[in-house]
Symmetry: C2
Subunit: 116 residues, 2 copies
């Protein structure tokens, strides 16, 4: 099955009270995860835009940084992330990401459930 | 948890008898899927490189095309895919992808299990 880019579900909005509006294209839509997860998105954060800090409970989230530079809050520790870096917020941990750089920050995010 | 790009597991090799060698960085490594899947990779196919046709059984695979142009075999039907396009090979179906373009074909691949 092919879903052309123009048919992808796009979500634009504030994320967890972060600054600005994040742009996301859903790679998998609701009902397409075989019950294994709940988010698989390509996300673009413009300069000054961020996803606010939030805790994961019952699932975990991985980011893969494609382009740009981000300030990542790794369960309370701040780290600079860039192209090719991987972040994993385990079940029970908190994270946030903010584009403090001059270019768009592009990443892929995946949330999988941790329960049976 | 952060895994810098330089620490990611990189796999280079032929995929399902496809032409050339695919380059993949593992976003999640074995044991990091909470039992929900088995592959979450960033993949680069140079011009002339492809993933050979193969059938999925017990899982499904989604590709998200980041850059370049691919010739995708969607369970027997050939389709041209490019930036932002999404492909889903459902459980029981076959697929393949080949870089017939002049630029690198870059994509993210995710395989999740379909069983309980």
């Amino acid at each position: 099955m092919i879903r052309k880019a123009s048919e992808a579900t796009v979500v634009v909005g504030q994320k967890f009270s972060g600054p600005g509006e994040a742009w996301s294209a859903q790679i998998l839509n609701e009902g397409e995860f075989a019950g294994k997860g709940r988010l698989f998105n390509y996300m673009v954060l413009k300069p000054g835009v961020g996803v606010g800090k939030h805790r994961h409970s019952g699932d975990f989230e991985a980011y893969y940084i494609l382009e740009g530079e981000g300030r990542y809050d790794d369960n309370g520790k701040e780290v600079v992330v860039g192209k090719g870096d991987i972040t994993i917020c385990h079940d029970g941990e908190e994270h946030a990401i903010y584009n403090a750089g001059p270019e768009d920050l592009k990443l892929v995010a995946l949330i999988l459930f941790t329960g049976k």
